[in-house]
Structures are given as C-alpha cells and as structure tokens.
C-alpha cells in the first residue's frame, strides 16, 4: 500500500464528506451545506458558561442545527471527555452530550483516545495514552459504559503524540486492535495526526497501517496546521495537504467499506484567514477525491 502517496489518486471506494461546524456563523453553514453530507459537532465548543461554572449548550447554535437537520446528518466529536484520565472522566461532558442528544439525532459519537486532565487539573493539551495493559483495561471498561449508556456507535480517535511514547505492552496499532476487539467500538483515523507523528517523531505510518485492523475505521479526519521550530503542530488552521488526502484515500480503500465519511476539520479561529471560498474549495476537492 502506498501510504502517504503524494498523489491524490481516484478512490475506489466512495465515502461521504463532512466538515466541522462550531456555530454562530450561519453564512459559513449555508455555504457548506450543499457540499457535505455530515456536520461534525463538538459539544464543548457550542457550549456557553451560564454564570458560575455551569456550562450548557448554546440555544442559538442548537437552533441553527435544528433548522438544517433535514439537509444534513450530524455526528458528534467531543474533546473534553478525557477518557484516559486515571482518576475518571469529565462529568460535564456527559451533561452536554445528554443535552445535545435530547435535541438532535446523531449517527454516532466519538472522542479522542487521550487524557486532558489529571486529578482534576487540566493539562491544556491532549496526551496520548500509554499502551499498557492497565490503560487498555481502563479504556475498554469506559468504552463499554459509553456504549451501554448511549446505544449509539462510539468511536475513538488516534491523537498526536505530543511527547515521546512511554514504554508499553502494545504497539499503537495493536492497542487499537485489541480495544476494538474487546469493545466493538469503532475508530476515527486522523490522517494529519499520523503525518504529524511521522514528521515529529519518525512514526512509521506504513507499518502502523499495515498492522491496524482498518475494518474498524468508520471515520477519517483531514486537516492541516502550521510548522513551528521544526514541529508540525496539531492545529486546524489550513486546508489539508494533498499528502493528507492521499493518505486518507489509502485508508478508505483498505477499510473494506467500513469507512463512511471523511471530515475536514478546521477551527473557527481559522475561518477569517481561510475564507468561505477556500473552505468550499477544500470540500469540493474532497468530493472529487472520495465520490467517484
């Protein structure tokens, strides 16, 4: 398999196209709707502080989403669950997800295989899990709870390795394979994150994909950040590189039909710099790459 090929070859498998939307920009939403099948929602970014520490979903944004529910499907992608924290996950995330699922229908929901807090203290960044038996047992138990609670497909995403990997009992792919085997959960494969890991740490993408059970991959992410001091940063501020799209195509081919959607991720802070036209061009490019 030509992982990371520089050429965007025609995909042999057709998948849907999605984009992130964090609300409060109806013109952007209107521009994207004809170009996407899925809108990916992050509960935390459409939440507001309602005095004190109480956090609730924005009524304004939820109204926007309800208004377009006949034109597009929704998927949920959280950032604040912290499923990997040794002491337990974030209860606030559950409140927001409950509130969201009460109001709109979603196809599936997902989070990051990572932790963002330790003993209630926030890291300010996501750290990848140690690939140990202890971590695997803990994650699997929590995935089962999530699936039992929501009765929806649940996916976990590979995150960027900000720091070197800790010694573990599993390779990255073997950890994901065992997690999906034990729980039945699905995977999001973030192609840009893999490229960041290859660039920053010499991660072997070809070896990883060769070992991974790609029939568990339901969703792919493409994005692009900036390079700082020789490091590729996991920020979503640019259009995806051709190499990232080509890598996602490779995974779609190998997933044997399990991959359903490729989502272009960008943060709202990047929208003024990118502009609506550039975002629309990116989505059209993904349509060409993945719908044939």
């Amino acid at each position: 398999m030509a992982a990371g090929s520089q050429l965007e070859q025609k995909a042999t498998t057709c998948v849907s196209i999605g984009a992130t939307y964090e609300g409060r920009d109806p013109a952007l939403l209107a521009r994207m709707l004809p170009l996407v099948d899925y809108i990916e929602i992050t509960p935390e970014t459409i939440a507001e502080a309602k005095g004190g520490s109480r956090i609730a979903l924005s009524k304004e944004v939820m109204s926007e989403l309800r208004n377009v529910r006949k034109e597009v499907k929704f998927i949920v992608h959280g950032v604040g669950l912290s499923i990997g924290s040794h002491e337990g996950w974030s209860p606030t995330y559950f409140h927001l997800l409950d509130e969201l699922l009460d109001q709109i229908e979603v196809e599936w929901h997902s989070e990051h295989l990572a932790y963002t807090k330790v003993d209630g203290e926030h890291l300010g960044i996501m750290l990848a899990m140690a690939k140990t038996e202890e971590a695997l047992d803990m994650i699997c138990e929590r995935v089962m709870i999530m699936q039992d609670r929501y009765k929806l497909p649940f996916l976990l995403e590979n995150v960027v390795h900000v720091i070197p990997d800790a010694p573990g009992d599993y390779s990255d792919a073997a950890f994901l394979n065992e997690m999906t085997r034990r729980t039945g959960c699905g995977l999001i494969l973030d192609a840009y994150n893999l490229e960041c890991d290859a660039h920053n740490h010499g991660f072997d993408i070809r070896g990883f994909l060769g070992e991974l059970d790609m029939t568990r991959v339901r969703e792919l992410h493409v994005a692009r950040g900036v390079e700082d001091n020789g490091y590729l940063l996991d920020v979503h501020s640019q259009i995806a590189a051709s190499s990232t799209v080509a890598l996602a195509q490779d995974v779609v081919r190998e997933s044997q039909g399990s991959a359903k959607v490729v989502v272009y991720e960008f943060m709202p802070e990047a929208v003024p710099g990118l502009g609506y036209d550039t975002i629309a061009d990116q989505l059209e490019r993904l349509q060409t790459a993945f719908r044939n």
């Binding site: 507001e48 807090k117 300010g124 070197p164 802070e269």
Partner: protein, 174 residues
C-alpha cells in the same frame, strides 16, 4: 510506573510544578529533557492565543500592543487550572487580568468581561472605573490600533448593562 504516577508526573512537567530527580524513571527523564515538552508547552500557549483573539479581542489587542500578551498567557497557564471548555477560557483570563497592577489592563479586562456576561444574558449592571478617557482607547482597541497616543488621564466610569443600547455608556466624573 503505574498509569496514575505517570500521568501525575507528566502533568507536573507540563505545568512546571514537577522537578525531575536523578533517580526518576528513565521515561520521565527523557520527556523532561526533550524538545517535545517545550514545544508542547508552546502549543498550549498558541491555542490560548487563538481562542483569546476571537473571544476577548479588545484585551488581546491591548496586551499585544504592550508586548506582554505571550508572557501573561504563560503566567496564566501556569497559575490557573484552565478548563478545556473554550467559551469559559476568555472569562477566566479576563477575571485573572482584573487583578492586574496595570490600571488600563485591569479596566479593559473588567469592561470586556462585563460585556461578555451582559451579551450572554447577565442582568447585572457593572460599573468600571477608568483612569483614562475610555472612548478613544476602546475605538483603537476595536480597530487594533496603537493606544499609547490616546491615553488622556482623567476620571471616568463605564457602565455596562443590558438596559443600555449598545450595552455600555461612558461617564466622566468631575
């Protein structure tokens, strides 16, 4: 090393509250001396800058003009337990800045914090003291222009309330 110990030590490294000992685990020592840790910390600050540029633009403009934005964000990250919920980050940052020794920074932060709250439906009325004429300063910050030439000393109050059209009004105290 068990998961809890490893996560606690990594948290300490990221928050600069943990000093690696000579007999520490080899992995923790490796992370502590890696460029990845320093880059990760920069990444945390970069995310905050982007969020604050969008969510508290007036204050960010002032801090950037004074070349203190990055250092203050670094201090804020180190001293505060910042929620991952993005919309809570600007209010927390502004609340932290209201205690600044710099009168103008404190006034702008108090003003922007009050404005955010009122725009989100807060029914309180906020009164903020200013030691400089506020209108030209706020105009410059909104346009991201230099403010130093606009600092005219005086005694003013800015009242922020949902009852006021545009949500705020400036009063000169004589």
């Amino acid at each position: 090393m068990d998961l809890a110990t490893q996560q606690r030590k990594l948290l300490g490294l990221f928050r600069s509250t943990y000093e690696v000992a000579a007999d520490d685990d080899a992995y923790i020592r490796k992370v502590a001396r890696s460029g990845d840790l320093a880059e990760g910390k920069k990444n945390i600050a970069l995310w905050r800058v982007w969020v604050f540029e969008r969510t508290c633009a007036l204050t960010v403009s002032l801090l950037r003009r004074r070349n203190i934005l990055e250092s203050l964000i670094k201090d804020f990250i180190t001293s505060e337990n910042i929620s991952p919920f993005r919309e809570t980050q600007a209010p927390a940052f502004l609340e932290w800045l209201t205690k600044s020794d710099d009168d103008l920074v404190a006034s702008v932060a108090k003003f922007e914090l009050a404005l955010i709250r009122v725009r989100q439906g807060d029914r309180h009325t906020y009164t903020i003291a200013w030691n400089f004429e506020p209108s030209s300063i706020l105009h410059c910050l909104a346009k991201d222009l230099a403010v130093e030439s606009e600092l005219t000393p005086g005694h003013y109050q800015v009242v922020v309330s949902h009852k006021i059209p545009g949500h705020f009004r400036i009063y000169e105290l004589r």
